[in-house]
C-alpha cells in the first residue's frame, strides 16, 4: 500500500472473492509469459513526501532562475510580473483537477472560462473566432499551416525568417508529414521581412504566407503591405503574434490577416523552463469549421438559462477521426485560464499602460546601451544589436549577475554578432543603466 492506494488485507480478500479468482496474479493471466517483465522495475525505491521534496528542492537550487539575476533574456518567453491572484485561483481544485468538460452540466465554470478566454483573444487579435487553446506558439504555427492545406489544397508554405526559429522549425517538421514544402523569405537591411523577396516567393501553389509581429528580432512589421503581397495569388495570410504588444499595435485582424496564432506564455504564465504555456489560435469567421481544438459556445439549458458547451465538436478527432481538422485532444486549459485572468487583471487600460511602459523602456535601452542596432525601426519590447565581443560581454555581465539577452548567431548566421535584448515591466531604468555600464566597460576593455 502506498500513500495513494488503500487496499487492505481484508479488502483484497473480499475483492478477489467477489471477482472469483484466487490471487492478484490470476488477473494478469492474459499476459503471455514471453512478454512479462519477470523482475522488479529497475528504479530507485519510493520515498516519503519529505524526501522527495528535499531531492527536488536540491535540483531546483542548481538552476539560475529569473529572480537570481537581472535578465534581458526573451526570444519567445518573457519574465512578466504575474499577480498573486493567479496563483490563488489556479491552485483551486475546481480548476486544477477536473477533466475536459464533456459533461457540460458539471463543467460550466471551465466552459465559461473558455468562452471568456476566446473573447479576450478575439479582442486582442482583432479576429472574430478563437479556439480554447492549442499547445504553444510554434506548434500553433504548424496547426495554421495544416488549416491552410485543408482550405486551399495547395502544397507550398512561405515563411518569413522573422518567424521565431522554433516556429519555422516546427512548421517544417509538421509540413514534412502533411506533405508541404516550406520556403523561407529573408529579412531586409532593417531586419524586417523583405517585401520584394516575399512577393517573388508567392505563387499559385502557395497555401499560406507566415509572418511574425513583432518579428523575432523585435521589428514591427508592415502587415498591410505584406498581406497584399501574400494574398495576391489567393494564399492565406497568417500572422504569429506576441500578444502583449498587441495592446499598442494595430491588431492583425485589421490588417488582412486570416489567422493569428501565438505564444501565450507572457499572459499570466510561468517561465517553467519553456512549458507548459499555451498557444492561441484566432481566425476569420469563414474558417470556424476548420479550426483545430476545442471551442466553447454559448447556448441555453432546458429551463432557458444561459449556459456553455463545447461546440462544433464534429471537427475534432473524437468524432471526425481521420477527417478531423487536427489530432489535438488535451490542450492547455489551465494555462489559458491564467491567460484570461491575466488579461482581465490588466484590463482595457492596463494593457495599454503596460504596452506603453515597455515601449518607453525599450526605446531608452536601445538609445543608451551604445550598441549599433540591427533593427533601427520601430520596436515594442525587444530589439537586436551588434556586439563586437559577445563572449567578453557575457563574461562580464555574468560576474555582475546580469544576463544580457539571447545570442542571435545560433539561429541567424546573418547576425553572427547579434544580441537580442528583451524588456518587460520588471526591467527598470536602473537595470538598463547597469547593463549599459557593463557594455561600456566591455567595449573599453576595462578589466572585468
Amino acid at each position: 500500500m502506498s500513500r495513494y492506494t488503500a487496499v487492505t488485507e481484508q479488502d483484497l480478500k473480499e475483492m478477489l472473492g467477489a471477482i472469483g479468482v484466487g490471487s492478484l496474479d490470476d488477473l494478469f493471466a492474459d499476459i503471455p509469459e514471453g512478454v512479462r517483465l519477470g523482475r522488479a522495475i529497475d528504479l530507485p525505491d519510493g520515498r516519503s513526501e519529505q524526501e522527495v521534496h528535499e531531492h527536488l528542492a536540491a535540483l531546483a537550487a542548481r538552476n539560475v532562475h529569473a529572480d537570481a539575476e537581472i535578465s534581458f533574456l526573451g526570444a519567445g518567453m518573457y519574465d512578466h510580473y504575474v499577480p498573486a491572484l493567479i496563483d490563488t485561483l489556479l491552485s483551486r481544485s475546481e480548476f486544477l483537477t477536473p477533466y475536459t468538460p464533456y459533461q457540460p452540466e458539471v463543467s460550466q465554470g471551465g466552459l465559461q472560462v473558455m468562452f471568456e478566454y476566446q473573447t479576450a483573444i478575439s479582442e486582442l487579435t482583432g479576429l472574430p473566432v478563437s479556439n480554447a487553446s492549442v499547445y504553444e506558439g510554434p506548434s500553433a504555427v504548424a496547426a495554421a499551416g495544416y488549416l491552410a492545406k485543408l482550405e486551399t489544397r495547395r502544397t507550398k508554405l512561405v515563411a518569413s525568417r522573422g518567424l521565431h526559429p522554433h516556429s519555422r522549425a516546427a512548421l517544417a517538421t509538421h509540413a514534412a508529414g502533411y506533405g508541404m514544402e516550406v520556403v523561407e523569405v529573408p529579412l531586409d537591411g532593417a531586419a524586417a521581412t523583405d517585401l520584394d523577396a516575399l512577393a517573388a516567393a508567392v505563387d499559385d501553389d502557395t497555401a499560406a504566407v507566415f509572418v511574425q509581429q513583432p518579428n523575432f528580432l523585435g521589428t514591427v512589421e508592415q502587415l498591410g503591405e505584406l498581406g497584399e503581397a501574400a494574398k495576391s495569388t489567393g494564399a492565406m495570410f497568417i500572422c504569429a503574434a506576441d500578444p502583449l504588444p498587441l495592446g499598442v499595435l494595430k491588431p492583425p485582424g485589421e490588417q488582412g490577416v486570416d489567422i493569428c496564432v501565438g505564444e501565450g506564455q507572457s499572459l499570466g504564465n510561468r517561465l517553467d523552463y519553456g512549458g507548459p504555456s499555451f498557444g492561441f489560435f484566432a481566425a476569420s469567421d469563414r474558417f470556424i469549421r476548420k479550426m483545430p481544438g476545442r471551442i466553447a459556445g454559448e447556448t441555453v439549458d432546458a429551463e432557458g438559462r444561459r449556459g456553455f458547451v463545447l461546440t462544433l465538436q464534429t471537427r475534432e478527432q473524437h468524432i471526425r477521426r481521420e477527417k478531423a481538422t487536427h489530432n489535438i485532444c488535451t490542450a492547455q486549459a489551465l494555462n489559458a485560464l491564467a491567460g484570461v485572468i491575466y488579461l482581465s487583471w490588466l484590463g482595457k487600460r492596463g494593457l495599454i499602460e503596460l504596452g506603453e511602459l515597455m515601449l518607453r523602456r525599450t526605446h531608452y535601452a536601445r538609445e543608451t546601451l551604445g550598441l549599433e542596432p540591427i533593427n533601427p525601426g520601430p520596436v515594442v519590447r525587444e530589439f537586436a544589436v551588434h556586439v563586437p565581443d559577445l563572449d567578453g560581454l557575457f563574461e562580464r555581465a555574468h560576474a555582475e549577475g546580469i544576463n544580457p539577452g539571447y545570442r542571435l548567431g545560433r539561429d541567424y548566421p546573418e547576425y553572427e554578432d547579434g544580441l537580442l535584448v528583451a524588456l518587460t515591466e520588471r526591467r527598470t531604468k536602473a537595470h538598463i543603466d547597469r547593463l549599459g555600464r557593463v557594455v561600456a566597460a566591455s567595449r573599453e576593455g576595462v578589466p572585468a
Binding site: P98, Q108, Y273, N335, W345
Partner: protein
C-alpha cells in the same frame, strides 16, 4: 441560483475600474510620446475591449465559476482511458519552486543543470517503464506524441528508401490515432476486432502488406483487454517491414508487469496527464513523451537532453544536444512541458519501481472488482459486459439492455449520475459497442468508493424501472440542466459581444 451567476467577466466591467497598477519607480526612463515611437500605421486605434474590474470582483468572479465545476478532489471520475487518478499535492509545491517555475528556457545550460538533470533522470525512468532505451520529452500531449511517432516512422522508411503510404489502426482505436495518421500524410486502414476483443489476426495478415508503414495499437486496448496474440501481431507487423507503435493511454494497467518494448513495440508514447498524475486542468496541460528503439533513435526530435561525463573527476554535466543530423527536427518550441516533468518525476520518485507496479496491480484489481459488482443481478442484465473476460484497468459495458428493457439510453444514465455526484464513465466509445460505457476506476479509489458507485448505478436502474422519465430529464441538481447543443452548433456564439442581436 441567482441570475448574476451567468454573467461573463466582460459584463461585470465598468469604465474606470482597475485591478492592475503599473509599477512606477521614482527613477523612471524619460517620457516619450508614443507617437514618436510607433508610426500611425502601426498604432492600435481601437483599444482591445478587455474588462475593467477591481481585484475583489476578479477573484470573486473566477472563484464562483470554479464552484460550478465537478472535480477530482471532490469525487469519482471513472472515465475509461483517461486514468483519473489522484493528483498528489506535493507536486504543486515542487513545481512552484523558483528554480523550476522561474527558469527561462534559454538560460545557459551551464546554469540550468538541475533542470537538465531532472529531465535526463525522467527520461531514464520512462525508458525503464517502457522497455525502450531512447526517450524524447518534447511532445506536448498524447496526440503530439502520436504524431511524433508517425513522423519518426516516415523518416525511418524514407531512410531505407521505402516510402510507404498506409497506417493500420484497430477499429477500436481512440480518435486521435486516425486523425494523427492523416496529419502525418498517411492513409488509414482499419483492422477488425475478433470475437474475443483482440485484433483480428486474419484481417491483420491480409492488410499488413509492403505498403503499410506502421500499426498503431494500445495494449490493453480500449475494451480494457490485453491482446493475448501480441507476440504474433508483432511478428506479422515486423515481417511486413512496418513499425509497431504503442499508444500509452492504457499504460496504467501494466507498469512493472509487462513492457511495450518487450512486446516488440518500436515507439511508445506516454500520457503524463494520465498514468503519471499531471492534473487534468479541465483540458490540459499534459505531456506526451516518447520512447523508441535503437533503429528509430537517430530520427528523434532535437534537442535531446544528454549527459556527459564530468571533466577531471567532477560530476557529470547535462546538456541539450542539437547535433542530430538525421533528426525529424523540432515539434514545438523549447524543450517541452517542463512543469509537467517536475510533477511526473516527483511521482516516480515517490512511488519507486515497486510503487508503480503496485499502482498497476491495484488499478486492475479495482476494475475487475467493479466489473464484478456491476455484473450482479439488478445491474448486469441491463448493462451487460461487452466482452466477458478478465479485464485489465478498464472495462466496457453495453447499455443496450437498459435501452431495450427500460427505455433509457447510456446518455440518460450518465446524466442521472451527475445528480449522484459522481462523474459518468466515458460514453459511446469505443464505437464497436452499442451504447458503450467505458469504466476505469484507477488505483486511488477505495473499495468503499467502488461499492458506492455500484450502488449509484443500481439505484438509477431501479428508478428507471419505476419511471424512465426521471433519467431522461436528468440532471436536476447541477448548475444547469441539459443544454441545447444543436443550437450552439447551428448558430455558433463563441465570444461575448457588447451589442447582442437576438437570434
Amino acid at each position: 441560483m441567482s441570475e448574476s451567476d451567468t454573467i461573463t467577466i466582460f459584463e461585470r466591467s465598468r469604465e474606470g475600474r482597475r485591478a492592475f497598477v503599473a509599477p512606477a519607480p521614482d527613477d523612471e526612463v524619460p517620457e516619450v510620446a508614443i507617437e514618436e515611437l510607433l508610426p500611425e500605421g502601426a498604432r492600435r486605434e481601437r483599444p482591445a475591449e478587455l474588462p475593467e474590474v477591481s481585484e475583489p470582483e476578479l477573484v470573486r468572479h473566477y472563484t464562483t465559476l470554479s464552484s460550478k465545476n465537478f472535480h477530482l478532489d471532490e469525487g469519482f471520475y471513472p472515465l475509461g482511458s483517461c486514468t483519473m487518478k489522484h493528483n498528489p499535492k506535493l507536486h504543486e509545491r515542487v513545481a512552484a519552486l523558483p528554480g523550476h517555475a522561474r527558469l527561462h528556457p534559454l538560460q545557459d545550460p551551464e546554469y540550468a543543470q538541475g533542470a537538465l538533470e531532472l529531465m535526463w533522470s525522467l527520461q531514464g525512468a520512462l525508458a525503464e517503464v517502457a522497455g525502450l532505451p531512447h526517450v524524447s520529452l518534447q511532445p506536448s500531449a498524447g496526440s503530439h506524441g502520436e504524431l511524433a511517432g508517425l513522423l519518426l516512422t516516415r523518416a525511418y522508411h524514407e531512410a531505407h528508401g521505402e516510402p510507404r503510404t498506409k497506417v493500420l489502426t484497430p477499429d477500436t482505436a481512440h480518435g486521435t490515432n486516425p486523425a494523427t495518421v492523416t496529419m502525418a500524410g498517411y492513409q488509414v486502414v482499419k483492422v477488425g476486432t475478433a470475437p474475443d476483443g483482440g485484433v483480428d489476426l486474419d484481417d491483420l495478415r491480409a492488410k499488413a502488406d509492403a505498403d503499410v508503414a506502421c500499426l498503431m495499437l494500445t495494449n490493453p486496448n480500449t475494451l480494457g483487454l490485453f491482446d493475448r496474440n501480441i507476440e504474433e501481431i508483432e511478428r506479422i507487423v515486423h515481417d511486413a517491414g512496418a513499425t509497431l507503435y504503442y499508444d500509452g493511454a492504457n499504460l496504467n494497467a501494466v507498469m512493472g508487469i509487462a513492457r511495450p518494448g518487450d512486446m516488440g513495440f518500436d515507439i511508445v508514447h506516454f500520457n503524463l496527464h494520465k498514468t503519471f498524475t499531471q492534473p487534468h486542468g479541465g483540458g490540459g496541460p499534459g505531456a506526451g513523451p516518447i520512447a523508441v528503439s535503437d533503429r528509430i533513435e537517430p530520427f528523434l526530435p532535437v534537442p535531446q537532453v544528454v549527459r556527459q561525463p564530468g571533466r577531471n573527476g567532477s560530476a557529470p554535466r547535462f546538456d541539450l544536444d542539437y547535433d542530430r543530423p538525421r533528426s525529424i527536427g523540432r515539434l514545438r518550441g523549447f524543450h517541452g512541458n517542463f512543469g509537467v516533468f517536475v510533477r511526473t518525476y516527483a511521482y516516480i520518485r515517490s512511488l519507486g519501481g515497486d510503487g508503480l507496479k503496485e499502482a498497476s496491480q491495484v488499478a486492475v484489481l479495482n476494475a475487475n472488482y467493479l466489473k464484478a459488482r456491476l455484473a450482479e443481478e439488478g445491474v448486469g442484465e441491463y448493462l451487460p459486459i461487452a466482452f466477458d473476460r478478465i479485464c485489465m484497468h478498464e472495462f466496457v459495458l453495453s447499455g443496450r439492455g437498459a435501452k431495450e428493457r427500460l427505455g433509457i439510453k447510456t446518455l440518460d444514465i450518465a446524466k442521472r449520475m451527475l445528480d449522484h455526484k459522481v462523474h459518468p464513465p466515458t460514453v459511446y466509445f469505443p464505437l464497436l459497442v452499442e451504447e458503450a460505457l467505458m469504466i476505469e476506476p484507477t488505483e486511488t479509489e477505495t473499495k468503499e468508493r467502488l461499492d458506492h458507485f455500484a450502488a449509484v448505478v443500481r439505484s438509477i436502474l431501479e428508478e428507471a424501472r419505476e419511471d424512465p422519465e426521471i433519467a431522461r430529464g436528468a440532471p436536476y441538481t447541477t448548475p444547469v440542466r441539459r443544454l441545447d447543443e444543436a443550437g450552439a452548433a447551428k448558430r455558433p456564439r463563441v465570444r461575448w459581444r457588447a451589442e447582442e442581436e437576438n437570434d
